[in-house]
Amino acid sequence: VPHTCDWRKVAGAISFIRNQGNCLCCWAMAAAGNIEALWSINFLKFVNVSVQELLDCGRCGDGCHGGYVWDAFSTVLKNSGVASESDYPFQANFRPHRCHAKTYNKVAWIMDFIFLPDDEQRIAQYLATYGPITVTINAKHLQLYQKGVIKARPTTCDPQFVDHSVLLVGFGSEKSEGMGAKTVSSQSRHPRSTPYWILKNSWGAQWGEEGYFRLHRGSNTCGITKYPVTARVQKPNVKPQFSCPP
């Protein structure tokens, strides 16, 4: 596993920061970002896929009232692909019985999807080798988050209660001082590195670190290891054209 990895440094690999508005569709936006990243780093195809299609055509039929990333992948498998964002744009609403999956050309598809082990080291290894993956976390600390690395205890951010899906795009370490960044005593003052994950959110670019945020890596902060899921666009033994830039 490399020390650092940031898929945002591959031009075009990570699509624009989406804004879900008042539609509870983080699950579809995370899945869309995953498929887009995999298509760009595997096939050099820079596509923006239709989140609206994932909402309108989902089996559960209530896309703006929440869902799961694997629902979105199931929809892409069922429809043998997904249309482009430009053909089938996001409306921030759910239109029952308005599935237009057959109307538009497919711009991306997937072979299958997998659940990764709940182990941060193995998640990092997979991320660095194969590309961004989706995770589902407890979003409690995100409402008032501005920047920096969130490190929470299980008592303040329950790792069993996860309610928000996002795209994991990289990891790294940040130099800080002391035992904890904010509890520096004169005796414990020494350089220390804080390992972190880089995550892409779907609340617009005005939120967080230009739409991204960072969580501590190695402590299962906010339940990041609970549901690591990714689509696959190649056979398991085929690696992408790019490796993750440090």
Partner: protein, 104 residues
């Protein structure tokens, strides 16, 4: 935990100014003076909450005014969470094949 704008006594100018700046920054307007007052209360509460998060955080995160500073925790959960219903996340561990999935 139940601090309101009224509890702050005559509302500090800084709070009103901060709220005004928030409204401009994130393009927020409210239909009635009552709603404006309610959102100001929530905004004040969230400033205190951000300070608490800041103290509790073990990393380098900074908390403060965000586009969601005028929402209660419950509203935020309802608007930006993703769960269809509380609990009930299915336990899944197998690889799902590329064949047409069976309808349940």
């Amino acid at each position: 935990g139940s601090l309101t704008a009224q509890d702050l006594g005559p509302q500090p100018l800084e709070l009103k100014e901060a709220f005004k700046f928030f409204q401009i920054q994130f393009n927020r307007s409210y239909l009635t003076p009552e709603e404006h007052a309610r959102r100001l209360d929530i905004f004040a509460h969230n400033l205190v909450q951000a300070q608490r998060l800041q103290e509790e955080d073990l990393g380098t995160a900074e908390f403060g005014v965000t586009p969601f500073s005028d929402l209660t925790e419950e509203e935020f959960g309802q608007l930006y969470g993703h769960q269809r219903a509380a609990g009930g996340v299915p336990s899944m561990s197998r690889v799902v094949g590329s064949e047409e999935p069976e309808e349940s």
